[in-house]
């Protein structure tokens, strides 16, 4: 498959953090491409650079070196405003700590990306409720985080990540704060969304979680040491099309 057709294309990405005199290389020449419709798990020990990689893919951070493109469009040299719009339109984030607003009801949380996308209020609310239905929380639309269980909160966060129909959903240890059973429920939800065609990148250090993915990338010390790559993703791709 041609490189230009990839959803995400990274060439030789490095990220160096400067802390006073010392330099920490969080990423050290990572090249990676992700196709539309893939289900990728990134595994590796703590501090191996997984989150750094995800932040760059999600336009939250910029690489020190290397070329990064989405839909063949290079991300370097974009203004803060353009990056914000890319985060808003192309990426859905799911965080380990859910990151919900403390006092807003579920539908308001889910509506948030649409607010920044200038979607009209009525439409936004309707789409927020649709996204909540998609994650099985339609009846909890008016509940605030403190009235929801951890698993339910994470599903609200997933609905929020989905609501603006992103090209790519990024999840950084999404089950890390959940018990095993609810973690499995959340993973089942991810799988369902993948079946429906969503491109998924999940960071995890849970081997069981990783095994469900079609493609597993292993990182150590800022480099990719193994990538089950291509075949599994392609196989799925073939099946889907």
């Amino acid at each position: 498959m041609a490189v230009s057709s990839a959803l995400i294309d990274m060439q030789n990405i490095s990220k160096v953090y400067r802390m006073g005199e010392t330099e920490v290389a969080a990423l050290n020449g990572v090249s990676l491409s992700i196709e539309e419709g893939e289900y990728v798990a990134i595994v590796g020990t703590s501090g191996s650079g997984k989150s750094t990689l995800m932040n760059i893919v999600g336009f939250l951070d910029s690489p020190t070196e290397g070329v990064f493109a989405i839909h063949g469009q290079k991300a370097s040299g974009l203004t803060g405003r353009q990056l914000a719009d890319l985060r808003n339109r192309e990426i859905g984030f799911v965080f380990q700590q859910f990151n919900l607003l403390a006092r807003a009801p579920a539908w308001r949380q889910v509506e948030l990306p649409l607010f920044y996308a200038n979607v009209a209020r009525g439409t936004a609310r309707k789409r927020a409720l649709e996204a909540l239905t998609q994650v099985g929380l339609a009846e909890r639309a008016d509940h605030r985080p403190e009235e929801l269980s951890g698993g339910q909160q994470q599903r609200v966060a997933i609905a929020r990540a989905l609501v603006n129909r992103p090209s790519l959903l990024l999840a950084d240890e999404p089950t890390g704060a959940l018990d095993t059973r609810t973690g499995e429920e959340v993973m089942a939800l991810f799988e369902k969304l993948h079946e429906e065609g969503l491109t998924l990148v999940i960071i995890t250090h849970d081997q069981e979680v990783a095994e469900r993915a079609r493609r597993v990338i292993t990182m150590r010390d800022g480099v990719i040491i193994s990538d089950s790559g291509g075949t599994a993703g392609a196989a799925h791709h073939d099946r889907a099309s």
């Binding site: 999600g58 803060g80 985060r87 808003n88 984030f93 403390a102 920044y116």
Partner: protein, 412 residues
């Protein structure tokens, strides 16, 4: 419009921390209420005084003496306005625009009735005084020309004098003693109901000749009794200035003042009095309002303080919003509108408080002034509190926009 959609966000975050929002707004509430009340009191007081002055006629002129040292180092200054001046001014040939020239000699003296006595301001004057000063009678009548001419021992008193001496106001025909001499009360003045400016409730009026010759030990100047002041009426409101000039000319002539000599008397008109009162009250109001405005600034700094705390507390929220696609301007507007809503709310509560105060004051019987809150003061209050919100909210809001999204998300 997108701007409007930040308001529910602001209201959410304010109601999420009601206690803190209330305390933050307190500075603005107190500031706005204080400024409005003081402006209102100032306006009420000056309206009151102006009413009072206007009710006493706008054609009146008052002539008061200045003092002059007679000769080289001759000692005590002497008053130079005399009955001779009053007689001269009463000549219509030279003063066609002046009518009813009224001399006054006033002093404080004790009135005695039975076992009661009262220190009273007693003015010796003529019959025209009532007309020129717009006095209204509650009982009886004012002094007559005949009584003035015959120097009768008659007196007209204010209600407070009547009640203090007799415990009632229907006292026409009763007698009071001044310096041991009996005076027959011929009239009682209408109560002015105003303890302040221009009240005659504590006054007494007797014929000018009696005051000069028998009651007060009045000195003479060039053979004529001096007066403490004289009043006159102009024929019409339009002729007040002309009347003033005619009076000035006669008095300068009588004193032999040269072109470069200053007047040794002053002529004040109601118009000039109104100007003076207006200037004094507005200066006073301005002064007090500036003091009150300081509390607004303090309130504004309180807002800034709380907004800074709020930005720090919500670092993670700001990071999240940026991750979800918020522009720098979105974050800026969110915090700016939050502080705007906070101060506007404070301003509105402050307005309500000052209105409450105004209503309360109105209910106090005989309270001398009303608090008058004008639309301009309201606009000022709303404008100033909104301005406070924007100015003092700007810095915290800019701090929020500068946060790096990943750093902010990682913040605990």
């Amino acid at each position: 419009m997108k701007l409007v959609r930040y308001f529910p966000v602001a209201v959410d975050s304010i109601t999420a921390n009601k206690m803190r929002a209330g305390l933050t707004m307190l500075g603005i509430i107190i500031g706005v209420a204080a400024v409005l009340s003081i402006l209102g009191v100032g306006r009420g007081a000056s309206a009151n005084i102006l009413d009072e002055v206007a009710s006493q006629g706008t054609t009146r002129l008052t002539i008061s003496p200045s003092t002059e040292s007679e000769g080289e180092g001759a000692g005590a200054p002497v008053q130079t306005l005399t009955m001779g001046d009053v007689k001269a001014l009463s000549d219509p040939a030279f003063h066609p625009d002046v009518v009813e020239v009224v001399p006054q000699f006033a002093g404080n003296i004790q009135l005695v009735a039975g076992s009661n006595n009262k220190q009273t301001r007693v003015t010796g004057t003529t019959a025209d005084y009532a007309g020129v000063h717009g006095l209204e009678m509650a009982e009886g009548r004012f002094l007559t020309e005949e009584e003035i001419a015959r120097m009768s021992n008659v007196i007209v008193i204010g209600t407070a004098v009547a009640t203090d001496l007799f415990e009632r106001t229907q006292v026409v025909g009763e007698s009071v003693r001044i310096n041991g001499e009996p005076f027959t009360i011929v009239g009682v003045l209408e109560e002015s109901g105003n303890a302040g400016f221009g009240s005659n409730d504590d006054s007494g009026f007797i014929p000018i000749g009696v005051a000069h010759g028998r009651i007060f030990n009045v000195p003479r100047y060039r053979g004529e009794y001096i007066v403490t002041s004289a009043s006159a009426n102009a024929v019409s409101e339009e002729r007040v200035e002309a009347a003033e000039l005619q009076i000035e000319q006669t008095l300068r002539l009588r004193r032999g003042l040269g072109a470069e000599d200053d007047n040794d008397f002053t002529i004040s008109t109601q118009a000039s009095l109104l100007d003076t009162i207006g200037a004094v009250t507005s200066t006073l109001t301005l002064l007090l309002s500036s003091i009150a405005a300081i509390s607004l600034v303090v309130g504004g700094i309180g807002i800034m303080n709380i907004m800074l705390v709020s930005v720090t507390e919500r670092t993670k929220e700001i990071g999240l919003r940026k991750a979800l696609g918020a522009h720098t301007s979105d974050v800026l507007l969110q915090f700016l509108i939050e502080s705007l809503v906070l101060t506007l709310l404070g301003g509105l509560i402050g307005i309500a408080v000052s209105y409450g105060l105004a209503l309360l004051v109105q209910r106090i019987p005989n309270f001398p002034i009303d608090i008058l809150i004008g639309v301009d003061a309201l606009i000022l209050a709303v404008g100033v509190s909104a301005g406070c919100g924007l100015i003092f909210g700007l810095y915290p809001a800019m701090r929020a926009t500068r946060l790096d999204p990943i750093e902010a998300l990682r913040y605990e």
